[in-house]
Each structure stands twice: as C-alpha cells, then as structure tokens.
C-alpha cells in the first residue's frame, strides 16, 4: 500500500500520478484544470465511472487512488451544482462515509475537508412540514392516490375497514384516505381500524409522538364523521414485522376488511442478500412476510415501492443501480425548487440519506434494499396472491394528481400495475393483490 500522509493537500492529479507510474488510469485523457474538468467531466456517465472507480479503490483499500478520485469528484461535483453534480456529490459523501465505516478512517478524515459531508440529518419535521415535503413530488402521492381508491373499493360492503399501514411516511396517506372514504360512503362510511408498526428510524421523522399523531388522525376522522381506532404495535421491518403479524392474527376480526398497505416499506424487510451466513438455509424474510400476509386472508394488499434493485451484494453494483435511479429525485427537484431553498435542502437531505444507506451501510443497517416490481410480483404470486389491478377511478385519480405536478411525471400501465415515470423512466410501481382462491404454493 502506498504511503499516505494525512494532512497532505489534495495532490494535483498529474503530479500524484507521476509519482505512481504503476497506477492504472481508468480514464484515458486527464485534463489539468478545473475548468476543463467541468467541461469534460460534467456528464453523468463520467461521474458514474469515477464513483465506481473510487468505490473500487476504497474497497481495495487504496487510499491514494481513492483520495485522488474523491478530489476530482469533489471538484467536478460541487454540492450546490446542477442536479447531476448534486447527485454525484451525494454519492461522494456516501463513499466517504463508507470509507470511514469500513476502517479506512485515515482516508475518510483526510477527505472530510474536501468532501464536506455536512449532515443535516436527522431530518425531523413537524407533521405539516412533512405533509408539504411529501407533496413536493408525486413520489409518495402516486402510491397514495392509487391505493386510496383501491382501498375504498375493498371496503365496500364491510362495516369495518382494518388498515395496516406499513409506510415510512407516518400516516400521511391517512387524511386523504379518510376523506376518500367519507366521500365514497356518505351514508355509512366504514369504521376504520388503523394498525401501525412503530415508526421506522428513517428520515424524515416526525417531531411529535405517535400518540399525538394518532390523536390528530382520529380527530380528523371525527371531522369527517368516520369512526376510527388507532393502534400501534411495536414491530419493525427487520424481523419481517413478525410481532405485527402475530398481533394481526390475534386481532383480525371476522367481519372486517383487512387491508395491508405496503408503501415503500417492504423493501426494508431483509432480503436474501442480508448477509447472514444462515441466509441460504432459510427462506427469505420477504417471502415469509408475503406468505404470512396471505395467511391473514386480507381483502386487499397494496404493494407500492420504488422500481430499482439495490440488493446487489457488492457496493459497485449498488452504486451503478443507485446512480441510475437516484438521479430522478435530484432532476425532479431541479424543475421546481430553487437552489438553496430550505425545502430543497431538506428534500435532498432525505435523498442523500437513502444514498448513504445504500452505499455506506452493510448488514442490518442497510435497509434500503429495493427490489424491482418483477421480484415483488414473483413473491406475491408465490405466496398465493393474484394481482387485481386498479380501477379506472384510481387511474383517473392518479392522472389528475400528476397533472398538477411537473410535466416530467407520467403514468404507465403495465399489466395490472401502475408505474410512475419521470421523463419516461420507471420510478415507483403500485400493485394491488388479493388472495387467490387456491391454496398458496
């Protein structure tokens, strides 16, 4: 390993490179000035390449090379630049964090100055701020709109709607659902039983307690003349919501419509790549989770999640996948939020948190293990569910919602499912499932 001086100024790439002639340069032509760097490197493909090489260097414990690349990246990707630069900057910080976590502490501390990972986290918002936060893009609203219609449909004919809300958004869907139920069933809205797992630690978090949150929701339901119960069951995705499922088995009442709303949450359940040595010997927690859902005989299961695959075991694979997905929130934010505004800062902080989780974390700490729709479809079918798709009303609802957002957002219907797109790229999928009559496989 090369000698590394901790407080050395960021070396000029050429001179540093000249010292180590044996280094294999991943890039053919290396520009000398920052200005030309801007010109030549300011494209996403190049940045991705640099990030990948940097990750390789960190993985290989090659501090010098890593430092050099990080320095380049820092120069071509200021945190306040355009959306691609911001994206790269976020990855850069994530890589630094990874380096510091993986024991490459010297590297991390040396580049702290240049990478400047200012951590605005943890992002803690009031419910109103969170509501505004969620409303910035259709990222969450897409799933909300699609699910609300489907849930309201499923509640038809039932006097009690038992909703299990597995979400990272702290019940932000509920007001619209309550409103939807109230308008759909003006004469006799179903009684709403809401069961929540204890909140996940992922940002943004709420600055009020779950109890207060519940109070407000129940209060709101009252204003809509809907009876409502609010339960919280201590449960986390890390064990596949085991205690929650046990609770549901014990408290699922015969006459109620049980609806499981999985909103950007199931990907937090550990997957096969969780890294445990015993993984191979047991079934995937996710498959176990879907099977457990099936055993509850729910009236409806909504699965809404981000369309990406962050389950790769190696960090390089995840960088590629994440880089080719996480540009979307940055790009979208660019279209409607002025740079430097508080909302954008918070918005990007939450995105950065996700990138850091994907890149820097390993093991149980890495909760952002997205799986693409195809995998979820496979799991759900294997568990004995059949997709029922969304009605025209749901589609109209979603379209209406998208119309009020930037023109880049779009809706795609493939098979039974809905897909939110940004400039044609898949972003979030929504699918609705009911148990098949035949026994699960």
């Amino acid at each position: 390993m090369m000698q590394f001086t901790e407080n050395a100024p960021p070396p000029s790439l050429y001179t540093a490179g000249g010292g180590g002639a044996s280094l294999v340069r991943p890039w053919p032509d290396f520009p000398t000035s920052a200005k030309s760097l801007q010109g030549n490197f300011n494209n996403a493909a190049c940045m991705e390449q640099l990030l990948v090489h940097c990750a390789c260097a960190i993985e290989a414990n090659d501090a010098t090379l890593a430092q050099q690349i990080l320095w380049v990246l820092h120069n071509i990707a200021p945190p306040e630049g355009d959306s691609n630069q911001r994206l790269t900057s976020a990855f850069l910080r994530a890589l630094v964090l990874r380096a510091s976590r993986s024991g490459c502490a010297a590297l991390a501390s040396s580049i702290t100055g240049c990478a400047a990972p200012d951590h605005p986290l943890p992002l803690c918002l009031s419910p109103l701020s969170l509501a505004g936060f969620i409303d910035l893009t259709p990222w969450h609203r897409f799933g909300f709109s699609a699910a609300n219609s489907a849930i309201a449909d499923a509640a038809e004919g039932f006097s009690v709607l038992h909703l299990v809300d597995l979400t990272t958004t702290h019940c932000m869907q509920l007001p619209t659902l309550i409103d939807c139920l109230a308008s759909r069933y003006p004469d006799g809205p179903p009684f709403l039983r809401l069961t929540l797992p204890t909140s996940s630690p992922a940002p943004p978090t709420l600055d009020i307690s779950l109890h207060e949150l519940g109070t407000r929701l129940v209060n709101f339901a009252r204003s809509r003349n809907i009876g409502m119960e609010f339960h919280v069951v201590a449960s986390t995705p890390s064990d596949g919501f085991d205690s929650l499922l046990r609770h549901l088995r014990a408290h699922h009442l015969a006459g109620e419509a049980l609806v499981i709303n999985c909103h950007l949450m199931p990907h937090r359940i550990p997957d096969e790549s969780a890294g445990s040595t015993t993984t191979a010997s047991r079934t995937s927690p996710r498959s176990a989770f879907t099977k457990a859902l099936r055993s509850l005989e729910p009236a409806l299961v909504i699965v809404v999640d981000e369309e990406a695959d962050f389950t790769a075991g190696d960090v390089v694979g995840r960088i590629k996948a994440a880089f080719n997905y996480m540009w979307i929130p940055f790009d979208a934010a660019e279209t409607f939020l002025p740079a430097g505004c508080e909302q954008r800062r918070k918005y990007e902080a939450a995105v950065c948190w996700k990138i850091e989780n994907v890149i820097a974390m390993e093991g149980v700490g890495r909760v952002e293990r997205l799986e693409p729709k195809a995998k979820w479809v496979h799991r759900m079918r294997a568990a004995g569910f059949a997709g029922i798709g969304f009605g025209e009303e749901a589609v109209a609802e979603v379209r209406g919602m998208l119309d009020e957002h930037s023109a880049g957002w779009g809706l795609k219907r493939d098979d039974d499912d809905l897909m939110l797109t940004w400039k044609g790229h898949d972003v979030v999928f929504a699918s609705a499932w009911v148990p098949t009559t035949s026994a699960p496989v």
Partner: protein
C-alpha cells in the same frame, strides 16, 4: 358645517367622523356621507342630489357635534368600522345617483325614440340622434357642470344603498348589484360554483383547480389532497377540537344550567388512551385511540369519574365496532382487557376521565354497557348481524351475540353491579323503556330482549327500543350502565295509565318468523310507524322521549346530552320522527330532567336508586 339644499331635495351630509371626537385629536381618517334626507322629487329614474356641504376636517368632530341634524348622524357606522378601507366613501361633492334595478340591469338604457335602438351611454345616443337629424347635445367636458357621479345600490337593505357608501362608477354598482342581489347564472363546469357576473365566472374559470383550498390557518392549497392532509395536521383543527373540549368542560361545570348541545355527546366519544404504565415496557404495546361517530341515542355514553375509575360505557358503540361478528373473546379484549393474560396487547377501551386502570378487577361489581350500534351500520344491518351472531353463539341471547354474557350470573369478563332491589330489570339503551308486565310492577323493560328475539322463552320484556340488550327474568340485571343512560337521558318518562301484562301483538307477529339468520329483522319496515303506533297505543308502559328539547341527565359526574338530532337512526324507518313526536306529546317530565342540580359526584347507586324509586312510583300510579 354647512347644510345646503340642493335642487333635488335636502341632502345632508357630513364629512368625517360623525359625532365622535377622537381622543387623540386627529382629524377624520376618511370622509363619507353621513346620511341624507330626501324630500320631493320622488321616483325619477335618475335623480340627482347635491351635497354641497363642506366640513373642516380639523374640527375633528366638532362640526358634527354642532350639527342640527342628529338623526342623520345616527346613520354613521361606528368609527371602528372605518379603520378598514371600505368600498364606497365617495367624494362628497359628487352627485348621488339611484337607479332602479331594472334600469341598472338594462344593457341599453338610452333608447332612441325614432328607431328604438338602445345605447349604453347617453353620449352614444346623442351621436345616434344626430343621424336622425334630431336635436342632440353632447355633454361638455369642461366646466363645473360635469359633476362626479356616484351610484348607490337600489336594494334598500344593502350597505351600498347608503349614499355614504356609494360606488364611484356605474359598472361597479352594476356588478355589485348582480353579485349581491342578482341571480347566479354562470356556473363553473369544473367545480359547479356559480357566479352572477360573467367576468367573475371567467376569472374563476382561469384559476379553478389551482388555488381553491384555504385552511383556516390561512394557507392556500391548489390540490385537494394537499389541503386535506394539511387539514388533518393543522393546528386549526386541533384548536377547534380543543375549544370544543374546553366548552365541554365548562358545560360540565355548570351542568345544571342550559341544555347541552348534542355535540357534547360527540365530544365524549373521543376517547384517547395514553399508554398504560404497565404496558410501556412490554414488547408489544398498543396505543389505542378511538372515535365513534354519534348516531342513535343508543350511543349515549356515560363517563363515571369516580375515583375508582372505571366503568365507562363511553365507547359503547366502540365496543360493538370492535366486536363485530366476534364472540365474547373479543369483547373481553375490550372490556376485560386487564384480566387477559395472553401476550397480545389487549385492546383497551377507556374513559378519558378515568384513572389509568381501566377495568379494575372488580370489588365493585358493575355491568358494562351494552354495545350500542355503531354509526357505520344501519340498524337493520346490525340486527342482521346480531341475529347471525345469536345463531352462532351457544346461547341464543342477543346479548351474548354481542359478546356480552347474557347475564343471569356474573360473568368472568365483566364485573357486575348488583341491582339493589334484586329485581329483574332490563337495561335499555335505546329510546325508551317499557315495563315488564310479568315481572314486578314497574320494571323497566329492555327494549330488545334477546330472549324475545331469538328464543321462544316467555317474554318478559318485549318492547324494542333501540338496540339494547336485555335480560329477561333473571335476578341479576345486565347493562346497568346502559339502563342508567336510558333513564338518565332525561325526559324519559313512563307512560302512566294502563299497563299490559301481555306481550305485544306486533312483536309476536313478527316473532313468528324468527330465524337464526335474522332475516326477519332485515326488513326495516318491521319497525315501521304502524307497529310503533300500535304498541304505543296499546297501553303498555313505555318511556317516552321528549323530542322538543335536549335531554340531559347526571349520572355520577358527567352529563349526557341528547339532542333531537341524535335520535336519527341510520335507518330512518326505524323510528319515524312522527311517531316519536306523537309519543312525546303527552306525559309529564320528570323534574330532574329539566332542573338538574350541580353534578353529583356521589356514587352511581344513589342516582340509580332515586331513579328507580321514581319510576316505580310513576308506573304504579
């Protein structure tokens, strides 16, 4: 102050603050017409009056103080109103013009007498007249002849009818008149909002759907979902409910006075449960909040504030909601939650006022209220469900159908309150009570006795009053709380007069086709007005509800208020208002119902006893 009679009559106007000398000595902030007196020259389409008066502003009210016409000054709006820049307040030198509504709305009010062509402006008519070789006259632009004109609204009650609030241009007063007093004939296709002025409608159409939602906190929303979400978490809603709760508390304090609004019932049903201390450390803890919408009087709630805490029938229908179609196990989850030993967190039902321990293992034996129907089920659906459950349960008791033990013996799930007299009684949750003919005289009968519904037992209690529970003929009575509620609902009165010891015919008739699945009860017409009339006329003892005034009672601590609106069942056929009115048309009101004293914090039993005594006396007479 000068007062000058103009050609059109005497117009008195004052400028500035009328009689109010401002303490700070400042002059009037704005000027306006004080008032007017019109004489003569009535009825021309256009009449002009001149205000020629001037008032020195610096006098700061002295002028008006010295005014001879105090009556006119009385028209002045209070000074506080003038702080805002109200529309109107024209130049006092201007002519005040009053147009009739017809003229005002006429598009072409200047009509050529030759060809009947109409014009919007006199100037245009004059130019037109030139073509007919008629004498014409264009108004001179120069000179003092051109007076500024102001226009008042022809609608007498309108603020702009007052010359002091006249509007400066004809279009303005036209639009005002259309908006405020005209028909709204322009309808937005998107949101169905209607507008009287086409330009308003056009302006709205441009922005419809963009900034349409405004929260009380002042925030504007372009999208409904954003607005709705905001609404749920905005402090405005919380404050509103806090106010409501506050007023409820106030009502509670002076419970003796004032009929309580039905809303208080609603408030009481907002039950919130902080985590119980002993549960906090449990792995599976549950926070449970609950609200049940108010419905029938059956959803009356009683919160007992005894220091021992606890009986709460508060969420009566809540209980039901949670135990829909389940067996008693689930009910015991709710009621006897603390006694459960399973690992699962018990769902808890609690009183907001009670101490944390909810249903203490019971030295004091109480019976919990029966679950009244919940709002989301129609009464018929409820009956059907009950019937199904009744069929499924080992006991065919209706009561058991709801998960309540049917009561001839104390059950493990609840604590039972021993009825002091040890007489048979039934609790009515519903609208009234009937007397049990076969039992001791004057037993309050429960409206819906399970035995009558699903069993062929000789019926002891027959009347159906709301969805209550009843126990027939057993010495231990169930549903005391519910009973208390029913009695306490105030205004409940026993029919005097005759009593019948025979079951109601109407009931028997329908009992013929009782079936396990309860199909007989799904027919809402079963409880149609006819049946009820018949029964109320049959001389059986019954309890009536006074619809005319909110009813209240005090049991233990809290008041129960039931307004007429609460009497609506989801199924309207069940209780037609007519019948209820009819039934309430006679009978005396118990004094306690209207003149309730301060909240008694004594134990429930004394209240119950007094009610019992009262009822016994009434029925005996």
């Amino acid at each position: 102050m000068e007062i000058t009679a103009g050609p059109g009559g005497l117009v008195l106007a004052s400028r500035g603050w009328a009689g109010e000398a401002r303490p700070d000595g400042l002059g009037p902030a704005s000027s306006g017409w004080a008032g007017e007196t019109r004489r003569g020259q009535a009825g021309p389409v256009e009449f002009e009056s001149y205000s020629v008066m001037t008032v020195s502003n610096s006098a700061s009210g002295e002028a008006s103080a010295s005014s001879e016409n105090h009556a006119a000054l009385a028209f002045l709006p209070p000074p506080a109103k003038k702080k805002r820049n109200l529309p109107g307040m024209p130049d006092p030198e201007a002519e005040v013009i009053v147009l009739s509504p017809k003229t005002l709305m006429a598009t072409n009010r200047f009509v050529c007498e030759i060809c009947n062509k109409g014009f919007q402006r006199d100037q245009n008519l004059q130019l037109h007249r030139r073509g007919h070789n008629l004498p014409w006259k264009l108004r001179q632009r120069t000179g003092k002849e051109v007076k500024k004109r102001v226009y008042v609204c022809p609608e007498p009650g309108c603020v702009h009818h007052d010359p002091s609030r006249a509007l400066g241009d004809l279009t303005g007063i036209k639009k005002h008149f259309c908006r405020k007093h005209g028909e709204k004939k322009w309808k937005c296709d998107k949101c169905s909002k209607k507008y009287a002025v086409q330009s308003d409608w056009k302006a709205h159409a441009k922005t419809c759907g963009t900034r349409e939602y405004r929260c009380d906190c002042g925030t504007l929303f372009s999208r409904r979902d954003s607005y709705v979400t905001h609404l749920a978490f905005c402090d405005a809603l919380a404050e509103e409910s806090a106010r409501a709760h506050g007023s409820e508390n106030r009502r509670e304090e002076k419970a003796a006075t004032a009929a309580a609004a039905p809303a208080s019932l609603q408030e009481q049903q907002m039950v919130s449960l902080p985590m119980l201390p002993d549960q906090k450390d449990r792995e599976n803890s549950a926070v449970l909040l609950r609200y049940m919408p108010p419905l029938a009087p059956a959803s009356m709630s009683v919160n007992c504030n005894n220091s021992s805490g606890s009986t709460t029938s508060c969420a009566g229908n809540t209980l039901f909601a949670s135990s829909v179609a389940t067996t008693r196990t689930s009910f015991s989850d709710l009621i006897g939650g603390t006694s459960r030993t399973e690992a699962e967190p018990p769902s808890l039902c609690l009183s907001s006022n009670g101490p944390p321990s909810l249903f203490p293992p019971a030295p004091e034996r109480r019976q919990f209220a029966a679950p009244p129907p919940s709002a989301h089920m129609s009464a018929t659906a409820l009956l059907q469900k009950a019937a199904q459950m009744g069929a499924a349960a080992s006991s065919s008791s209706f009561l058991r159908g709801f998960g309540l033990p049917a009561s001839s013996s104390p059950s493990a799930t609840g604590c039972e309150l021993q009825w002091p007299e040890q007489t048979s009684m039934s609790a009515g949750l519903g609208l009234g009570l009937r007397y049990d003919g076969s039992g001791a005289a004057g037993l309050p009968g429960l409206m819906l006795s399970s035995a009558n519904l699903f069993e062929s037992k000789p019926a002891a209690t027959l009347d159906f009053l709301g969805l209550g529970m009843g126990t027939a003929g057993s010495s231990n009575a169930g549903g005391l709380s519910a009973f208390i509620n029913s009695i306490g609902a105030g205004g409940l009165e026993a029919y005097g007069g005759g009593r019948s010891s025979t079951p109601s015919k109407a009931w028997d008739g329908s009992g013929g086709d009782r079936e396990p699945n309860g199909r007989a009860f799904t027919d809402s017409n079963l409880w149609s007005a006819e049946v009820l009339k018949q029964r109320s006329g049959s001389g059986e003892n019954a309890v009536k509800i006074d619809l005319e005034r909110p009813m209240r009672t005090e049991i233990g601590v809290r008041e129960i208020a039931i307004g007429p609106t609460d009497l609506e069942f989801a199924d309207k056929n069940l209780w037609s208002a007519e019948v209820l009115k009819r039934r309430s048309s006679s009978g005396a009101r118990h004094p306690a119902a209207s003149a309730a004293g301060p909240p008694t914090t004594v134990d429930d039993m004394s209240v119950v006893r007094s009610w019992w005594a009262f009822l016994t006396v009434r029925s005996g007479g």
